[in-house]
Symmetry: D3
């Protein structure tokens, strides 16, 4: 199937078992994840030939990160080995009124200190149809932002579709830095994905009459945001995920897609959360899959939302669902009856 | 207390910890279960003298299956040892919109390859008052169906009450095969138990105006199904469990009982699911207990529904609740307040 | 910060993993807890200089109990070592309609057999501003009730504020015994805390028109209870927690505070329960913190309710939340959005 | 097969995982065990019809103790339910030069507070051929010692063989108390089992020229001890286990048997220890089995030593080995090659 | 690097945690393994381009088996999906005098019921230099033996070196069946690997004056066996592993290699066993690596023995060691000092 | 008791469960440790008033490190909070010929980026009798080396005894850097501790005729090393630990102490290793304890060696043993018999 390339950071994810708080933990569950890596695994699980590009230290923990991708069929042959360390993030799972908490320990990672010479984009993109990255990657530092630009340029030259999930991270850069760098990168982007806050944080484009914490998300407001984003950056498509947070245990989950002409709004799923990290990435992967497969805008949107709805019921960053499972939910069966 | 005999297959049940999917699991929780074995354990937990009859391989995994029953007081002295293997089933727990998934690996099990000579029903039924089996057992093969017939005949001769839970399994046989074989067996049955789909699957008797996945269950429809079943097979009682699946995490649970004259409908419990496998079996055990104890139809029904409501909060196939706990819930205390 | 002394029993808490019932467990999670110890840990987590006073056996399990308190910053230097054993309690977590179950094995513990000579209250209270105990401590035996009286007297002489959580335990004493002993102790108490049942159980003061199991809690009724308690025992403040139990998985949680003039009622939180043991203690700690810090009555009440709302999402007896986290929830953010 | 009755205490055994010390543990592995219960399980695993008699509290932890015995086929129908608590012991596994450590918390257990009226020995011994108890049981208190005497008398009247493992526990009674009570009980005993210290501790009969900690065990010395024991108490057989402790990880293990005429010494096994608790009990069970089966003295001795050699490789108090496995080792195959 | 193809069965391996016996286990550690799969993973860990060929069911447990290979870099693109089930084996780890125990549940697996049409050997062998299989594969049934023959023929035509590890399994076939089939296959084999028993079991060629269980392994005897094997089947090389079993915890481990002229004997390693399953496979992989890399006979032998010595310290079937680690041990550093 | 101050880095220690290799791990056991922190915990376990000084980030993982020290009674009130991250180290436990492996991820930690202003040594040393640090601390960077110098100066002025464990880490600095910096610091040191390699690595002082990996340690050689160290740096005492590594599972462990006049050599313990990290630190703590308590040179040495012998049987960096346990072993009881 179509080859998709994603580029970014994969981190060691350390999570206390169950609902233990950090100060109670005597062990951590160790998995691996990161925006673009999550997209690659999702796509590989859909049967897509997905490659993930990054730089990882040569030691065994770096190798374990590679293995976590190979295990699920991601092409890791373009991962460069070297540098000092693997980024780490600690995640404590929230419940009821207690929010999940993430502590990042990613400074100085191999990818954050990577150089342009590390990546041969010309070879990497051979045979590829799609390139995906998120706003986290350029936020790792000007050097990585530079690599992103180079990747985008090469992809553009080769006629590869480019998607970007804005994914603003305030711990990594200021809104000003983000705005400047992302504006530069958006020149190359075809499909832009954002959550209900990103557009405002990065570009100052906000949905009026909307109260995110309170769970009030206005359709009209988001339509305007999408159109404005598309117009500003000459995008072919803009997707916005719409999370309404009732508590750490229960969310409503939906999304919209603007296809340059019309705004489509998906069904809303009431999700009982097992693990919500990677929810946005699973949406991105679903959307890329749908568009690659030639689905209509609303079909692709419903596929993407159903995929990410299912992600909320799966532990870890990665979304382990098949195309059939997503289609079954998108097709209306959300009753959760046992499948024998 | 009254002796009850159940006959069928017990399998090794392998489940990934928590909500992990199969492809994420590096260990399996190992318990044992199967329709009739579940009923036997439930009854033993109610203080009934329950025997479970099956055939199991001689090796230590077969022994562990025996031990899982002895641990909870089931009489295992009639279990025959021999044959090649223990049936296995893998179960992945669903959550929210993601359904639970069961993978069966039961072909070639000791019980599926058992012969009539293996069981001395005359001795087994000595002193027994009740015999219970499910539609899964005859579905294991014509040889096992034959053993079922023999068991039923012997039981009938001895004046033992016979109950059967239809439990249609499409992986084991076609609707035609099931219909033919079950019709033969129903001749001996006094009490028939079914879920909201079984009667249609096995005998083509369906509840009109009912949408199971959507959770619309019509009282009138099920009354008709029960009456038709009773009339067709000359049954003294027909019970139907009524599950309305909101999601893999939340179900509504109720049941009805037709006593040859009237149809009784139980309270409906909104259940937050810990483990829903064995829900139907725990209902069957509750009903048998109630009827054995001489409860009225509505009392026995409410006892059975309350017992199986509690089962949904318990890990594994077996229902570990006492008569007092069931009565407390049936009596109205579902508040779940801590008992000190 | 202000020094608070608490006095009572800390027990080894043994809990089957997850939702396993006692008869299914092959291991127990081992933590430590007890009314006053829980309050001490909560306060230490708020930055208060909290000391816990008790008697514990000299062996390593007794030491582990000490360590569980030191780990979270509680001053354990006044814990007396000696006696025969550590009290134990077994707790099985409920779910849905199945209630949690507690089995106590606390008879003969070091603290239950302690003598007046074991504690030098004069030294212990040096520099303290607040003394807290619960109705469980005097219930351990007349000797311990006597020690309580002595502690209260000494505290009173030093002008230390005294709070008491009624915490009636029917397994430890009769209502008559409780009423007699607690009436004696209430002479010294300034702030009384109770749950929706305690006042009736201990002093026969009940809220009319209220159905606890059914979840009907009347504001007016509780206002009367609080006023009557305050009048009877000359209390400066009375707080009552108001739990409405929908199921073992879902509760509504609120509280009221009577400040001698007015009755304040807090917001009600719908809590999805991770572990509800210690909920009342976390409320007490929150209230003590608020009052020590000079918050207004309603502020202190909302702080206390928010603190204990969060406790319901935390495993074990102890409430591991910071002042900031409590204030954030009390301030209105209960959406549970991930904090990165 | 022959019915054997054993009588004593079964306790909840709480062990930190792996080699963790008590102060490091955040969970305990929960199994059940006790001298006579261990013998009963061993015998049941050998196919013997073994009954264990005790008194246990009615609650679920007491039930779990019953279940732990039923699981392995022990007849628990004579266990009396009542009393306040289940005895507990904590065990920390040693390694290398660090010894294992046991903390007992058994005072006030149901069996320790049992009364003569609790047990109907006449019925219990119906059809029995052998009665076994250890020196721990009478050490629980004069009431329990009295019950032991009664059991012995009844057994003697019925011509049942009686065996006793001296098992001196210094935490339970003084040497003087033990000597007096055990001398009384030895009147009824046919087969006495002791370890390398017991005879001296209880009766002051010691092996000269022997240094137990240093691992020097003199054959001649133990022969004299055995003969003296047999002569003093008119015993038909005396067995002494001979443990030479190199470290907590490595022991040499052997035993001797005096059959009234001759002293036989078994092979010595160098054992690499997985769990050494219950080693002596597994020897006792092996000896009882051998003698019941009519093996010669040396055969029975080698069977018993091989059985208990294997026990040292098995977690928990219980010895889970079959007759075939014991015979294979006794027959010379200690190479530990994989059995496929 | 050079491409190696291996062909055979991979099974789900279910092992109780630690040293628990089967009847004690309430969970199983789930890994995957099988002779030729183990060789493929070893080689992939050495940096070799290793492909494993088999047939696996389409369901998620089959997928997990594929993933277990992909995770460590094995090329799984030639694995055929279909058939009914994945073979399973249960393994209980031995210790001291208690042997490890394996229970096979492999009948009816997808590979055991595979047909010639399933595999396109011509394509599979494209670019390959080496083909490896073991005696287990043809033992799965005449159909699989036939596939082996076809694979060998194709490999031979392409000038690919063929190695075979005799690996006699008495549960799968008789010595007569094995002798007949393996003789046929040996026509194509260049390098034969055997353990200290295989040659006798399969071909009746035995080492005189050798007592395997007793650990007496005669150099002269094995030299004769190797020469006879080489002469009989016109082999270029014969390797024999020499395990001397002191106990389940301690083995001595060595091997010999006959290169058509001379017999070389390796160093002997005293191994303290963590997991000995897959020991022989790790030797085979080491030998293939050494020979592929052009090492001298003694170098290749020492590399192979050191690799498999390390395997004994690693959990699971797979040998996770690097070339550097093997060389370091082969070069003399077996002190096990911490590497920082 | 006497107050001891230690200064250095404490890290999060992440270890795969059991003997799993890094690439097999799906979880890590999380403890905390570091040379000087380990010494502090050991001393606190001996009843010494031990303070540990470092800098840690403000977040919850930093707090968990503080808690790990408080839990065992270490005074953490001088720990400065701030900076970016907590150092981490990954440790994979070796077995048999496979060595343990450590991967450090400590660059950029709060303590490595600390400044002189962070620590008020004058206050910290109030009432202290002893100051201890290791060669790891100055190796963290010139800034930290500078802080060490300042601490040493202040301690010297106050007449506090200073001990230093050379602890050369080649990953942190070159031998030249180490030599230069450590020479400067040794001016203040009274008691120097080294392992069998350190003196050579740091100061080029080596024991002739000694083969560490081979386990040949010459008494004479080490006596010369100790005397030379003492003479060069005007030390009052020099201790050298003597580890002879048979394999990762078995070591011989001993030490020597030069008291300015004589060289004493301890007993040698054959240790079966549970966890050998922190072995040297536990020796240092034992030596400090012995010398503080006024033991003779040989007594202090034997106490220190026995303490660290026991450490090898304990999981994690910390040595959880009491003075009584150490004295019992030093006094000759290494038989590891169960203590009831």
């Amino acid at each position: 199937m179509a080859k998709v390339v994603t580029f970014g950071e994969i981190m060691l994810r350390l999570a206390p078992p169950g609902y233990l708080r950090f100060v109670q933990a005597d062990s951590f569950e160790a998995t691996y994840g990161g925006g673009e890596a999550n997209v690659a695994v999702s796509l590989a699980n859909f049967g897509v030939d997905a490659a993930f590009v990054t730089k990882l230290p040569k030691h065994e923990i770096g190798q374990a990160a590679v293995n976590s991708l190979r295990r699920f069929g991601v092409d890791t042959s373009w991962i460069v080995r070297g540098g000092d360390r693997l980024g780490i993030y600690f995640i404590e799972k929230g419940a009821s009124q207690r929010p999940s908490k993430v502590i990042y320990d990613r400074a100085g990672s191999s990818i954050a200190t990577a150089q342009k010479e590390d990546f041969e984009w010309d070879k990497i993109f051979e045979g590829a149809e799609w390139f995906h990255f998120t706003g986290i990657t350029p936020a790792l530092g000007p050097n990585v932002a530079g690599i992103c630009v180079e990747a985008c340029k090469t992809a553009k030259e080769k006629g590869i579709t480019i998607s970007c999930d804005l994914n603003y991270r305030k711990k990594l850069w200021t809104r000003e830095q983000a705005g400047r760098t992302m504006s530069e990168l958006m020149k190359y982007v075809d499909v832009c994905i954002a959550n209900e806050e990103d557009a405002e944080m990065v570009f100052g484009i906000r949905a009026e009459d909307t109260d995110i914490s309170g769970g009030k998300l206005s359709h009209e407001g988001y339509s305007k945001v999408a159109r404005k984003l598309a117009d500003t950056f000459n995008l072919s498509k803009v997707a916005i995920t719409l999370r309404s947070s009732i508590s750490a245990s229960d969310n409503n989950w939906a999304a919209m897609l603007y296809d340059g002409k019309e705004c489509f709004f998906s069904k809303t799923y009431p999700v009982h959360i097992v693990d919500r990290v990677g929810g946005g990435d699973s949406f991105g992967a679903g959307l890329i899959y749908g568009l690659l497969k030639g689905m209509s805008a609303i079909e692709a949107l419903e596929f993407a939302v159903a995929a990410s709805c299912l992600k909320h019921s799966i532990e870890g960053d990665f979304n382990h669902v098949s195309v059939d499972e997503v289609k079954s939910l998108a097709g209306g069966d959300g009753s959760g009856r046992v499948q024998r």
